[in-house]
Structures are given as C-alpha cells and as structure tokens.
C-alpha cells in the first residue's frame, strides 16, 4: 500500500460563524494527483490553508506526513492563488524563485551556491530562463504563475499544492501549465484546486468535489459529463480523455 501523505478525518471548519468545511474525510497517498473542483466559496482554498497550517480546524483532525500541519514546511511546495505581494516590488524572477529555498535554510544562514543551483533548476523546469533577470512587475499573468510554481519547486518539495494556477490566464498558457504538471506528477504528489473541470480529468488520477462537504471520485476517467454536471449543478463541457494531437488544440 502506498504511504498516506495527507489524512483528514471528519474535518470541519467555521469562519466567522459560517461553516466552510463540513465533515471532510480524505486521504491523499504518495504519487496521487488529486484535482479538487467546486464552486467559489466552496472551501477549496480554505482546505489548502488547513493542510498548510494557516487555518486550524474547528473539529476533526488533519495529519500531513503523520504530523500536524506546518510540521514539515520543506516537504511542501505551495502555489498560492491570490497574489498577496506587490507587483512593483523591486525583485527579479531569480530572487523570487530563490525565496522558495527558505524552507530548507536555517535562520541567519545566507543563500549559497547550492540554493542558487536548485532555484536555477526550477527556473529551467518552468521555462523561464530567458526572463530570469526581469523584474516581476514586467511579467504577464502566465509568466508570473510559472514563476510562482518555480518558487514552490525550488524548495525540492515532495508534495505540491496549487490553488487555481490557471485562473485568469490565456488558454495557450493553461496548456503549458498543465503539461508542466503532467511532467511533475512523475516525481511529486500533487493537489490541484481548479475551475477547469473540463481539462483536468485528462491529467489527474482522482477528482474531489468540494462544496462545504466533499465527494471523492476514485478514478478521474470514470467522471463523465453527467456526473460533472451534477457536481456543478449546471451543464459542463465533455471531457477530453485523450492527449491532444497538437499543441494548438482548443481545450473546452
């Protein structure tokens, strides 16, 4: 049996008197690529924040690598959705990615050659070599998103958590990001929160729908048009089950 990496048992969480997560039970195993879909306000981001230790559950338990969340920052890479930072901040992509190394560093220690090599590797993986010296303010939404993925990868994580990495970027760039995840899932366990219901089932191994409560679909391939429509309570485009023949294919 594969090792369980995230273990949630009857997890509930209320924020400001509102139940955001209710009785969520889920386990994510080593090597999984779990897609979490669901409407806005369904608790997807909050769920990731619980796994990261940024929010404490009101009841139930969460274990990440067998310990309470936040115990192993260096094993987790996080790609946040909301950009909390200032686009005018005087910093280049290279330095932004280098910050992903901080979870592996001790207090007072400066970044060394190995840290720079690791972050350069992450820059290569995400195809940002040519842009590495650019200021973050000069990047497009898709480039910035790849830079945030590179920052998460620089720390050499085993588990990658992504919060809507394809929100508000153009379809072409979406394909690039999904191809990147396809490549990364060989080595990493991935949890992906997304709205791209139509696209993800080609990539993920399991799908969960989260709307305060959680429903799990053990095989992504078994999710068909009807079940997806039921999840969202409105019609959803059919899922592309096979790989596209060329890069220019239009994704639904």
């Amino acid at each position: 049996m594969k090792d369980s990496i995230i273990q949630c048992d009857q997890l509930s969480l209320s924020l400001g008197g509102m139940k955001v997560l209710d009785d969520v039970t889920l386990s994510v195993n080593d090597g999984d690529f779990l897609g979490i879909i669901g409407p806005n306000g369904g608790g997807k981001t909050t769920f990731l924040r619980v796994i990261l230790g940024l929010e404490a559950p009101s009841s139930g338990s969460v274990m990440v690598y067998g310990r309470p969340p936040g115990s192993f920052p260096a094993r987790i890479g996080y790609v946040p959705q909301r950009l909390f930072f200032d686009r005018d901040f005087p910093i280049s992509i290279r330095e932004l990615v280098l910050m992903g190394r901080i979870s592996n560093k001790k207090l007072f220690h400066h970044y060394n050659k190995r840290d720079r090599e690791k972050s350069d590797q992450a820059i290569c993986t995400t195809g940002l070599e040519r842009l590495a010296e650019r200021r973050i303010g000069d990047l497009s939404g898709g480039e910035l998103q790849r830079a945030l993925i590179a920052r998460a990868l620089a720390g050499d994580p085993e588990l990658l958590l992504l919060d809507e990495p394809t929100a508000s970027i153009d379809p072409q760039m979406k394909t690039t990001i999904y191809d990147l995840l396809e490549h990364l899932k060989e080595k990493l366990t991935i949890v992906l929160v997304t709205h791209d219901v139509g696209t993800i089932s080609r990539y993920v191994t399991r799908i969960a729908s989260l709307n305060v409560t959680l429903e799990l679909y053990e095989s992504a391939l078994s999710t068909n048009r009807e079940s997806l429509s039921m999840l969202y309570h409105y019609p959803v485009n059919p899922v592309v089950q096979h790989s596209p023949l060329s890069r220019t294919i239009d994704h639904p």
């Binding site: 996080y78 946040p80 909390f84 005087p90 910050m99 901080i102």
Partner: protein
C-alpha cells in the same frame, strides 16, 4: 559649499549626523516602503515622545528614555494589530496620541521650562552633541548587523508574509523585530528632523529609490545616498537662509519627491503621444 559648512565644529557634527542617520534611514526606510508600513512607523515615532517626556521628568538624557519607550511602543502596536482583534489603524492611532499625552503630562509635572524639547519634536541638527553621534553610530552598526544576518527573512516577510509563514518562518517575531528596528531608526533620526517629521525622511528617499531600483540592496544604497543628499542640502539652505534645519530638510525631500513624480507623469504623457 562643503568647505564652508565644515569650517565649524558644530557643522562638522551636523554633516556627520546627517550621513550617519541616513544609513539607518535608507536601510529601514526601504523595508517601510516595500512593506507599506509607513503609518505604523509614524505611530512608533510619535509614541516615542512619551519616552522623551519620561526621560526629562526623571532627569536623565531623554535619548535614554526614548529607546526603551519606543521599543515598547513598537512591540505593543505590532502585537495589538497582529494578535488581538484590533484594527491596525485604531491600534496605531491610540498609541500615537497616548504616547504624546504621556510626554506632555511628564513635562508638565517637572517644574520649570524645558528649552530643548522643541529640538526633539522638530529636530535640530545644528546642536547634535558628540555623545549623540556615538549613539547614532552604534545604532547604525546594530541595525546593519541585524539586517545583514536576517536579510533573507526580512525580504521574505516583506514580499509575501503568508508564504514566509508557510515556509516555516516565525513571521510574527520577525515582524516585531523589524518594528523594533524602525523604533531605533526613529531614535536615530530624532536629532536630525525630529519625531514629528521622521516619517517623511523614512519614506521619501526609499520611495524615490524604489522607482529606480531592481533589487532591495540596490534600493537601500540609493535611499541612503538620497537621504544624505537631502539632509546636507537642507542643512546648507537652513544655514544660509537661517531656517529651521529639520523642516528645511523635509521640504527639500518633498520637493524632489514631487519633482520626480511630475517628471514621470510628463514623460509618460509624452511617450503616449
């Protein structure tokens, strides 16, 4: 111009104070600007007036009263806005006014007239004694040391505090430490421009520097240079025209700030055409 300035000892001290204080101001001002904590810095500065009043009441060097007092203010404001459910601007506003009130009461309790209080409020770089220069120098060295040791942590919390927390950093402790460094910088700047105007010199040079910098260390060096220039030019004008030195430095800084922005606006309009 410089020779004329350096002819007198008090002028030499003033120029030294301007340059030394600009070091702390440029480094810490950079964090204040990129982390957008100018208002909290203003709060710490004004609360520090309570420390001056206390020092005066106890009959010790007011600078010795103001260091512990402003450090306490920094930690209290930081904790109140981070941990207690108090809106940050309410916490800052309360400390701002209460600190000044404590200072006023302490001064009122001490019989007699307090002649040099004005210089703490509005600065008087022309009367900086040698003892204060040594104090500014040691605070500079302390600030440089801490920032050198923790530059990656300070960069991380300034850029994206939540990500820093996820990465396992003790973000609240680091933030409080940064606020304490701001408090010490306020003490350093007090002699030059006074606590009422310290916020301007903490933010203006760094805000201008940000427009022309690609990295944080580069922004710090440029901010230090600009701050030194503004202080020395302000000093020269105040000496020539017999104006209040702190206020002149601030007016010069503000003038350049507006000039740079106006130039940006005009050049943007011209390229748009």
């Amino acid at each position: 111009m410089l020779q004329e300035l350096l002819a007198f000892e008090f002028m030499r001290n003033a120029v030294l104070a301007a340059i030394l204080s600009s070091v702390a101001c440029g480094i810490i001002g950079t964090y204040v600007v990129v982390k957008k904590i100018g208002f909290i810095s203003g709060g710490i500065a004004h609360t520090a007036f309570g420390g001056i009043g206390l020092g005066y009441y106890l009959g010790i060097n007011p600078l010795l009263g103001v260091i512990p007092f402003s450090l306490f203010a920094a930690i209290a404001i930081g904790l109140m806005s981070k941990k207690a459910k108090v809106a940050e601007d309410s916490a800052i506003g309360t400390f701002w006014a209460v600190g000044m009130a404590v200072g006023v009461i302490c001064i009122g309790l001490k019989p007699g007239y307090a002649p040099d209080l004005f210089s703490y409020l509005f600065g008087n770089i022309l009367t900086v004694p040698t003892f204060d220069l040594w104090m500014i120098l040691s605070l500079d060295l302390f600030i440089i040391g801490v920032v050198w040791l923790l530059n990656k942590e300070f960069l991380a919390i300034s850029f994206d505090e939540e990500y820093a927390r996820v990465s396992g950093l003790k973000t609240t402790a680091l933030y409080l430490l940064l606020l304490c460094l701001i408090a010490l910088t306020v003490v350093v700047m007090m002699r030059v421009v006074g606590i009422v105007m310290v916020i301007a010199l903490l933010t203006i040079p760094a805000a201008i520097a940000r427009m022309f910098s690609r990295t944080l260390p580069g922004m710090m060096v440029l901010a230090i240079t600009l701050s030194s220039l503004f202080s020395i030019i302000g000093l020269w004008f105040s000496y020539q025209l017999d104006l209040a030195s702190g206020a002149t430095i601030i007016v010069i800084s503000g003038f350049v700030f507006f000039l740079v922005h106006a130039w940006r606006l005009v050049s943007a309009l011209l390229t748009a055409q």
